[in-house]
């Protein structure tokens, strides 16, 4: 456990004072995931890693801590977090988008164990607990991930870490990606652009070699370049419909359902009951709409 660079309990109190209990306010980070709301007072969450507990597979850090700093710290312990790189931890959690290793590492939403957040009343609120297994009360952590700062501002978090694989290697293949999905054992990532498939395997080097050999995979230097114009979220069973799309216009996460695309998807209509629940939750947590004004909680894609 490294020496604490910050006392996050104290920092949360100071952050709560800064957020206050009145007036519109937006949270800012490094601006990598769309930036903060303009024309509104902005606040910055605490920054810094308080501890890493390698044997617990947990790390506690301020929400404004850069993802890459956490990653660098965890590398010393042979661990990592299922949070896509770039920007801040709080920003990644608030947006709730997982990285391309989701197939093997799981979604970002599962990595949050405990959070202290600042409520619209300006109070410090705890959600969740420090252990992976925990069913003590309602799961506010899941509510916060992807809530885009509309319900509370994350002050600090405890994240579940995972071991880095002994080895990892990207491969490329011209084979059908669904055949690969069926025969490979728990690949970390499986991407497809309509022509080629890219596979990331992690684990023991001999196992990686054996799987690559039996599935006729060729070593690659890394994943393909992902189109950044649009991000679709579709049922993984719908991905084969992309067979008619122009190759090269997309990269699909096979077995997951994310499509990195050069064109926007048509938007589906929000379900009325879901829209109603969304309004009621927002109104319970932030009745006057102080937090991140103008940010829509309900953004549909796909």
């Amino acid at each position: 456990m490294p020496a604490a660079s910050i006392n996050l309990d104290e920092a949360a109190k100071a952050f709560a004072d800064e957020v206050g209990s009145e007036g519109e306010v937006a949270v800012r980070g490094l601006g990598t995931r769309g930036g903060s709301v303009e024309g509104v007072r902005t606040v910055l969450a605490p920054q810094g890693i308080e501890w890493v507990q390698a044997a617990e597979m947990t790390v506690r850090c301020g929400a404004a801590t850069p993802v890459d700093d956490v990653d660098a710290e965890l590398e010393q312990y042979g661990q990592c977090v299922a949070v896509p790189s770039g920007g801040t931890i709080g920003g990644a959690l608030a947006v709730g988008r997982s990285g391309i290793r989701r197939l093997g590492h799981g979604p970002i939403r599962d990595s949050l164990l405990q959070a202290y957040f600042i409520s619209a009343k300006g109070e410090v609120v705890k959600a969740g607990g420090p252990t992976v297994k925990n069913v003590s009360g309602f799961d506010l952590c899941r509510l916060l991930v992807g809530s885009r700062g509309t319900l509370g501002f994350l002050s600090d978090v405890i994240l579940r870490t995972r071991p880095r694989g002994d080895s990892e290697q990207w491969f490329v293949s011209e084979r059908d990606p669904w055949e690969l999905l069926s025969e490979l054992y728990r690949p970390t990532s499986l991407l497809w652009d309509g022509r080629s498939s890219w596979v990331l395997l992690e684990g023991h080097a001999d196992d990686i070699r054996a799987q690559a050999h039996s599935s006729q995979l060729e070593e690659a230097s890394g994943p393909p370049k992902l189109p950044t114009e649009a991000r679709w979220s579709v049922a993984p069973s719908e991905l084969p419909s992309l067979r008619v799309a122009a190759p090269g216009t997309f990269v699909a996460e096979i077995g997951v359902g994310i499509v990195h695309h050069s064109h926007e998807a048509s938007r589906s209509r929000p379900d009325a009951a879901v829209a109603d629940l969304t309004r009621r939750i927002k109104s319970e947590f932030d009745p006057v709409g102080r937090f991140n004004p103008g940010v829509a909680a309900l953004r549909f894609s796909g």
């Binding site: 044997a55 609120v125 925990n134 069913v135 992807g146 002994d166 054992y185 629940l277």
Partner: protein
């Protein structure tokens, strides 16, 4: 057969409805369902008084629903009469979550037990809530997949109940608790509207309503269809039984393994009393002279499994491991797991009654918290057995006793209270997999401040403003908030 202490639970907000109202309610329910789906005889009401906890209540009527439409019809009637309702799967919950408030409608989902569809390519399935946990894995075995959450009650517990309690099990160490295995839930919300929360698509827009529904203990509505993730069966499995002359050595090895970057599929611990009881029961050749044994399972591809096993044995040597037994084949593996999973049956040979606890502590605190648990049991002159998910730090101290002995129930109560407290003080949590229900409702202030609990109450109100869906569970009433001594009458902790 083990008899357990039964107590009435009476600290409920809802008063028993007037007899005439019950007659009208039953009549109305019989008009929206088939009459045979609506039962209100004394004997049937008695059957649904309790779950597997020591708590009980009394419903007005039990409805055996068969479809989403049935559930919606019942919930609409509940709203019409302003009567609370409680969904119930197999009734295996240990925290009183399915105990009906006085005069409530019990919605039994046992007849909604169909596996609706399986997608073997993308490894997901839609199931009804009454499907039994193990049945899903058995039915999909030929496709090379299984449903990873595996509570010890998996032969009888329902997936709807797993969703309600965000249940765990031995194999959650590597694969995560139930929440990580649920893509979507079709629910009838407490106001009677039907919606799908989450989706087969990985990033449905908006708040993660799926995530907050899982583990909401029936207080956010009733699940009617569940989309689950299926997990690939591993090509290779190694199951090891390691024994130790001290509990501390075994407990410390658990942290050593994880800190080394190995996440076994499961790491279970049994202490000496448990080993002895189980050995008498199943004759598996368990190390009954040792203080503790760890059952470790490693799964994956062959080289990774072999290398993890070698490393675990190396680490075990440093913790003075005694015997090492590696299951030679599937039969031996099944026998070792049978030993672990039959522990609760085996303890009936020691005393007629038991109380099973469920707390979590950080792994590195296992040695000293276990020591405190033995000390607490000694001080209260009780026998305690420990059989638990060590890899997750998820303790299951079993207090065994004979309820006919004068004063013993009070001692069990006091010891249980202390065990929960030392777990939370060690940086742990109130429950790892059983949930809060009624059992630990008034202990929530040990972990959460009034402000924290108010935020949980906000979420509850957003889902259920009329507070009809399984009321009075999980959240302590404001009057008891901050007063952890106030345990509901008859509740056992």
């Amino acid at each position: 057969m083990i008899s357990r202490l039964r107590r009435d639970f009476s600290a409920l907000r809802y008063q028993k409805p007037d007899a005439n109202v019950v007659v009208d309610l039953v009549e109305r329910l019989r008009s929206v369902l088939r009459p045979d789906q609506v039962r209100d005889s004394d004997s049937e009401i008695r059957l649904y008084r309790r779950d597997a906890s020591n708590l009980s209540g009394r419903a007005a009527v039990v409805c055996f629903v068969e479809s989403t439409d049935d559930v919606q019809a019942v919930i609409r009637v509940a709203n019409e009469f302003a009567v609370p309702f409680v969904a119930r799967g197999s009734g295996t919950g240990l925290a009183g979550g399915a105990v009906p408030p006085e005069g409530a409608i019990v919605i039994s989902t046992t007849k909604m037990n169909r596996i609706l569809s399986v997608d073997p390519v993308n490894r997901l399935a839609w199931v009804e809530p009454g499907v039994l946990n193990l049945d899903l894995s058995n039915q999909t075995k030929h496709l090379g997949v299984h449903f990873a959450p595996d509570p010890s009650s998996q032969q009888t517990c329902s997936i709807g109940g797993n969703v309600a309690n965000n249940s765990g099990g031995p194999h959650c160490l590597a694969d995560g608790v139930t929440s990580a295995h649920i893509h979507a839930v079709e629910v009838v919300l407490p106001n009677g509207s039907v919606s799908v929360l989450g989706g087969e698509d990985p990033e449905p827009g908006g708040y993660d309503l799926r995530g907050v529904f899982v583990g909401s203990e029936g207080m956010f509505g009733v699940a009617t269809k569940i989309c689950v993730k299926l997990t690939q069966n591993p090509p290779d499995v190694a199951t090891l039984l390691l024994d130790f002359s001290t509990v501390a050595d075994g407990a410390q090895l658990v942290s050593d393994i994880i800190a080394d970057g190995i996440i076994p599929a499961a790491v279970e611990m049994m202490d000496q009393l448990c080993l002895q009881a189980v050995e008498e029961y199943i004759h598996a050749g368990l190390p009954v002279d040792q203080a503790a044994a760890l059952l470790v399972e490693v799964v994956g591809l062959s080289s990774g499994v072999a290398s993890d096993v070698a490393r675990i044995l190396e680490l075990a040597e440093r913790r003075n491991v005694g015997g090492v037994r590696v299951a030679a084949d599937e039969d031996e593996r099944a026998l070792l797991w049978k030993g672990r999973k039959s522990a609760f049956g085996a303890i009936a040979r020691i005393k007629p009654n038991y109380y099973l606890h469920d707390t979590v502590v950080p792994r590195h605190r296992l040695p000293d918290v276990l020591e405190q648990i033995y000390e607490i049991a000694d001080r209260h002159e009780l026998i305690v057995l420990n059989v638990f998910h060590a890899g997750d730090g998820n303790l299951h101290p079993l207090l065994v006793y004979d309820a006919s002995e004068p004063g013993v129930t009070e001692r069990v109560h006091a010891a249980g209270n202390e065990i929960v407290r030392v777990s939370v003080e060690a940086g742990g949590v109130l429950s790892g997999e059983h949930g809060i229900g009624l059992e630990k409702r008034d202990l929530m202030p040990l972990m959460f401040s009034e402000v924290d609990l108010a935020a949980q109450a906000d979420l509850r109100r957003a889902f259920d403003p009329a507070l009809l869906s399984n009321p009075d569970k999980v959240l302590p009433s404001p009057a008891t908030c901050g007063d952890v001594q106030s345990i509901p009458d008859g509740a056992w902790i």
